[in-house]
Amino acid sequence: MATVELSFSALPVHVRTARLIVTAVARRSGIDEDLLDEVRLAVGEACSRAVEAHRLHCPDEPVRMEMTAAERRFEVIVNDSVPGDDSSGTGRPTTPADLPKVTGPDDLEFALGDGAADLGLAVIAGLADDVDISTTPKGVQIRMSWPVEAAPTT
């Protein structure tokens, strides 16, 4: 069972709320202070991505987030309710390995429009210690985790 679960309306304004909550739970879980910024940003990106997908496909469905501290890992799972085929229907990648790379000062195309979602995945992949993105008939799940040095406080 998750330590803390959060369900929020798919509105951009609530992404900040999700960031504040994950930061508080991560801190309480004993995660290193230096990693808190990375947790906050990576989870914010995952929530932004889910909110945007819901706004396009199912605005009335809430975004769900689970935070768990166990076995010296702090894990966050962000679930959307948009089937993978739909959420990636624009051809955007759903795994970090598919991401395009910026190779020079004129390489801007990928970062515009839907490319912002690609940038988001690039940020998640760059910040989370371990990332797994899975696409199911129910939706896309982004699972991120970081090491916990201190014993978790339950």
């Binding site: 960031r19 190779t103 515009l112 940038l119 988001g120």
Partner: protein, 117 residues
Amino acid sequence: MDLKVNDYTTDDGLTVITVEGEIDVYTAPKLREKLIDLVNKGKFHLLVDMEKVEFLDSTGLGVLVGGLKRVRAHDGSLELVCTQERILKIFRITGLTKVFGIHDSIADAEEKRKGAK
């Protein structure tokens, strides 16, 4: 939290945009509107001062890239002032340090601009 966006134009024709607060999926449209508004007013040389930005995500990056593309269409420029490691890290992760000129201060950016002329 609100995002504060202000601007002024120097005698040299450089428009400095100071941004304060958190740039995310909720607040980024405000910055996007400001950049579009400036370009529509003929301001094609932009310097975004990010020293008071507390948080930046990929939506904010997308807005900056969009602004850069708009000014480049007019042979303009969009550069940044940023010394905060937590913000610079996001540019490095996404490879955007290769795309944006990033300066330590507004004075530094102005100096390099004069030198390039």
